[in-house]
């Protein structure tokens, strides 16, 4: 008991020091003539790797590009951006506290979203109450349409789990009716927000299209040792394997499928597949793997964005949330310029109008005009569905054999 109370004191002490540190950071002189942008983001904790891939580099790169160009064009003035940044340590309590501090103490002009579905849901009501717009760049939730009604300045950029699942199921249905795959699907999901949302939606969508789920289970968050699952699925005769997984699990599953030589005709893995890390890790074996997202690298705007991202961050952006995040930052910049003032309500009104010129073309935050299903083809993660979209690539089918490991 003594140990635990001392431990608690230590935790408190550590927390206080961290708080004082960040508070000092925020208390820096409030110079006029800057547009103050604040955000709380997971620099540490379990959310950090995701935030570091999809969110942080984009925020930093955007601020740098804007400031290098002299700042935001507001009326006839150029106003540079000043950033107030906190680490939310991947905890929603911490994120809420930091956002409140940004609003009440730092009095920033605009707040960018934290990383992940959970944290975005946690901070949404506070931002709404204080009249801040909320461009939730990395949240997937079936409640998205209701949420944007409830908090009218919130935009749920990655949409709902159902849309990805439905698009995937429709796509698979086409393959099934072409006689290319059988009706058996093996599905696993990580037992966390994203995996649960998508597997629920996926189950419904797949059953609607008369697929039989021969395997349908979840695995705990953080688990990378999924060899037993892969081995069992291998014996079930499914042509389609669907994993709504998070990055460590995505890599673990791919690795173990390769070791066990489990090579279904469609191999769909979750978050992390569209990360550059995936290609670095598996090289030629990434070929043919299917996932969420996608990028038309033949589109000069996308190609240019990827090039600038590499130059800035030293690595490629992921091919899903990064692109949408970037489009939302472009929208914000244009909304401020169109509003011609730093008045929050004026900017919010412009954001709601949409029609921004972004890497996703003409865009309004919340539009789902990006790839829902993509595939690694020749070292690029390209978009394959919705098939009606411009630049949709043909699916490489069936998935090529694993070339084997080093």
């Amino acid at each position: 008991m003594q140990i635990s109370s001392r431990l608690r004191i230590a935790t408190l002490a550590a927390a206080t020091t961290a708080l004082i540190g960040t508070a000092l950071l925020g208390a820096q002189a409030q110079a006029q003539d800057t547009y103050r942008i604040g955000y709380a983001i997971s620099k540490t904790g379990p959310g950090a790797p995701g935030a570091n891939t999809s969110t942080i580099p984009n925020y930093e790169m955007w601020v740098k590009e804007v400031n290098d160009a002299g700042g935001l064009k507001v009326g006839d003035k150029m106003i540079p951006i000043e950033v107030v940044e906190y680490d939310d340590r991947s905890s929603s309590e911490e994120a809420v506290r930091a956002i409140e501090r940004l609003i009440n103490q730092d009095k920033v002009d605009f707040i960018l979203s934290p990383w992940g579905t959970g944290l975005n849901l946690a901070v949404a009501p506070i931002l709404d109450r204080a009249g801040y717009a909320h461009l939730a760049g990395t949240a997937v939730s079936d409640k998205a349409p209701q949420l944007s009604k409830r908090w009218k300045n919130s935009y749920w950029l990655l949409g709902t789990g159902s849309q990805y699942a439905n698009e995937l199921a429709t796509f698979l249905d086409q393959l099934k009716s072409d006689g290319k795959i059988n009706n058996k699907v093996a599905m696993i999901a990580v037992a966390d927000g994203f995996g649960i949302e998508l597997s629920n939606a996926g189950r419904k969508a797949l059953e609607k299209h008369d697929f039989e789920l021969v395997y349908d289970k979840t695995y705990p968050l953080g688990s990378q040792d999924l060899a037993t699952i892969v081995n069992e699925i291998k014996s079930l005769g499914a042509d389609t394997f669907v994993a709504f997984s998070y990055p460590p699990g995505t890599l673990g599953l791919t690795e173990q499928a390769r070791v066990l030589n489990f090579n279904p005709k469609i191999f769909y893995a979750g978050v992390g597949t569209a990360f550059p890390l995936y290609k670095d890790r598996f090289g030629a074996d990434a070929e043919g793997v299917v996932s969420l997202g996608g990028a038309s690298e033949t589109d000069p705007k996308i190609a240019d964005y990827i090039k600038r991202h590499i130059a800035f961050a030293g690595r490629e952006p992921d091919r899903w949330a990064s692109i949408v995040n970037w489009a939302s930052l472009q929208s914000l910049q244009q909304a401020i310029e169109r509003a011609g003032s730093t008045d929050r309500d004026a900017i919010n009104a412009e954001l709601a109008k949409g029609g921004f010129d972004t890497i996703l073309g003409s865009y309004k935050p919340g539009d789902q005009n990006f790839w829902q299903v993509g595939q690694w083809q020749d070292g690029k993660f390209v978009g394959i569905a919705p098939t009606s979209m411009d630049g949709a690539q043909a699916l490489i089918f069936p998935k090529p054999d694993w070339k084997g490991a080093q």
């Binding site: 140990i3 953080g222 040792d225 060899a227 037993t228 081995n231 890790r281 080093q406």
Partner: protein, 290 residues
Amino acid sequence: MLSYAVFSGITLGGMYALVAMGLTLQYGVSRIMNLAYGELVVVASFAAFVLMTSAGINPVIGLLILIPASFALNWAIYRILLKPLVARAKNRGMLEVDSILATFGLLFIVQGVLLVWFGGNYYSYDFMNSAVNVFGAAIAANRLVALGFAVVIGLGFYLILTRTRIGTALRAVAVDPQSARLVAIDVNFAACFAFALGGAMAAIGGVLVSMFLTFSTSMGVVFTMKALIVVIMGGVGNILGALVAGLILGIAEALVATYIDPGLTIAVTYVIFLLVLLIKPSGLFGRATS
């Protein structure tokens, strides 16, 4: 199916044991409850990654560099950071509390340094991932290497601790540091040596684990937690106990994932842990405290 579940469970358990054996030495002999243990495992993973990707040194060869380096680093940590705590502690309980506090701070320092150098991203590299057939079950070669190391270290240390003079000294210090002094054992040296040795084992664990797990700067606490369970389950300070406890957990997880539900793998770990604590509170191989 059964044979595959058992074999993959054994490799998984080997990994748990490997990561836990250093902690059992540090906690059992040096009496330092090292909360920064997992961070030191992760440091070794990153070191292996850097050696592999920038210098092209394969991780198993890299061990030749990283084991002594980690031994030295942990020696220094003990001498500089922990020695004053040992000197002023009036009893074992006080040392435990103080060492928890000190290593809790160390945890943040190590994590902070890693964050500055490597950022928060995931890291992973490809090494020895080819499949090896073991009685009809395809297992990744790197996992077999990790299992091999776990077994060799486990049995090797068991023999060293029970058959050699220094081993006997270490055990004496583990049982009763006060009386060990009376038979001319240099308790300070033994404790420092055991701590550094534990650190070296953490490095071995980190390097081998990095061959097949995706890791990031924030993963240390995962290793510490798992290692703590294995250490307490196996009996504090007992290397063979850590090996057996690790294997039991690994096999149980694999069987549950295959025959019941993969969602219950973490639950089964804690159920077994609780059962052991209820039936044998000092751990599987632990001595009942008088």
